[in-house]
Symmetry: C2
Subunit: 307 residues, 2 copies
């Protein structure tokens, strides 16, 4: 059961020779969700040999070009590759028109379903049997939202041997995994805790970009296993960060620390920084388990057994 | 006096892992002109260490996304890099609106001047002291135009030693280079052909993409030194080429041969071809001096002395 994010782009508004604009590919058990789609996202997908066809949902954090200019090319390529299934795009008002505007001459063969993100609101955007994706507000010059990817509560794990020992049917197993006790041979009630052990903990990933230091975020991302938080500037540019509604690496680490996250990933670095070690070190002073994202690298959260 | 084109992108509509969508950077004596601007053009400019700031004119052949989706990111980066000078964009009707549509939230600090290309017309788009850029129609599903970059007729070259021998002033030199004879010490008329030798030949580059095989193009590009012509398909896909209004490599070579060009560059290959040697060989059978473009490579036309 994979639960991971692959970094496709990690620059701030001005890309550099080794960083593309923002795009993350989230993988939940081989279902893929694209978060932001900066220019060149389709190029990075090819470069890292990731499958286009498995992407059915795209989440756009806000309508600054470095977070969505790659959508047009990707939408067009999906069509050329013969896509038939719906593509779901979650974004603030305005993107739909921008896309329509580009595809008057460039026709596409499938349906795009737009889902409006309301700024300043926490909302569930997507749910299935195992995953829930919700959104929460960030603090930026224009409406901007973060995303939380969280596995649903899992069922109890069946202990080894109980199937053969009690000759369980599929129906019995389903009931036991949901917490039922079991009446054995119509006479002995076996308590559920003799048949199962606790379910694996549900895993979570939160994406926060672009945003100024925003204390309220802590409540939305409490205890996530993996947090990506923008860190456009080092501490010497704290005033600039405030002015442009971005964060410093230290501020990202403060959010990570207050939210008690497992691991912090930082990116969206200003192109002025040639070596990101300085930025990473400033974050690590506040939150040790911090990593500067590398494009093409996949960051996984392992399955965790409950104590 | 540089006269060259650097290939930034050379795929057809669907980029591949080693080919970006169409973009050429034409260099006339260190003035740069961008021809088409597929997604990732700004990434390629950085990769090949080419200067953004020297680009003031962009020519868009037609409004299929693989020829202009990179404009939004480039326009945005120009602004972030502090551009103040006007940017001239030459394109068919429609692009202006598409750009406006993207830059409601993403403000830019400089002025964009749009120049409308009229389909089906030959027209001069740009002229300065040394260069003339004109456009001519191609044959595609939507209005599409080619571009011809041609040096102006040059002045006569002054023979070595004549300046000191006849003690020429700057005014004398200017007149002689334009063809005047010279009256030496108020008594002896020195004929111009004793003072000069013929001017260098003016050089030319033509860009033809996207287009079906279109005989009329021959008249527009006669005798150019360097021709780029699309070659989306090999000969086995001739019917597909016709249907999609693209060319085969052989057809590109036939145009090159009929127009008596110096050298043919081919590109815009369908992503179905993993090895372009087949395509190149088919073209070479008709026109030997053919080369498959390589991204990052610069193709120059040397100064040619007149016989």
């Amino acid at each position: 059961m994979t639960f991971s994010v692959t970094i496709l782009g990690s620059s701030s508004a001005l890309p550099t020779s080794n960083r593309f604009p923002t795009a993350h590919l989230f993988n939940s058990n081989e279902r893929f969700f694209l978060i932001d789609c900066g220019e060149g996202t389709q190029i990075q997908l090819r470069r890292f040999r990731l499958k286009f066809s498995k992407i059915n949902h795209i989440f756009i954090s806000h309508l600054h070009g470095d977070h969505y200019f790659g959508l047009f090319g990707l939408i067009s390529s999906f069509s050329l590759l013969g896509r038939k299934s719906d593509l779901h795009i979650y974004a603030h008002t305005g993107l739909e028109k921008m896309i329509e505007c580009q595809f008057k001459e460039n026709t596409i063969n499938y349906n795009i379903v737009f889902h409006k993100i309301s700024p300043q609101k926490v909302a569930v955007l997507y749910e299935d049997k195992t995953l829930k994706i919700s959104t929460f507000p960030l603090k930026h010059r224009i409406p901007a939202n973060g995303f939380l990817f969280k596995e649903r509560e899992r069922e109890l794990n069946l202990r080894k041997d109980v199937i053969s020992k009690f000759n369980l049917s599929i129906k019995d197993i389903q009931a036991i995994k949901k917490g039922s006790d079991y009446l054995w041979e119509d006479e002995k009630l076996i308590k559920n805790n003799h048949l199962t052990y606790p379910p694996d903990q549900s895993r979570s990933y939160a994406f926060c970009s672009d945003t100024a230091y925003y204390q309220e975020v802590v409540g939305f991302i409490k205890n996530v296993d993996l947090l990506y938080h923008e860190a456009t500037f080092a501490e010497d540019m704290k005033e600039m960060a405030k002015k442009t509604t971005h964060s410093t690496a230290k501020q990202a680490a403060e959010i990570a620390s207050k939210a008690n996250v497992g691991k912090l990933l930082i990116g969206h670095f200003s192109s002025r920084y040639k070596d990101e070690k300085l930025i990473e070190n400033e974050a690590k002073e506040v939150f040790e388990n911090t990593e500067t994202v590398i494009e093409g690298k996949t960051y996984s959260v392992d399955i965790k057994r409950k104590a």
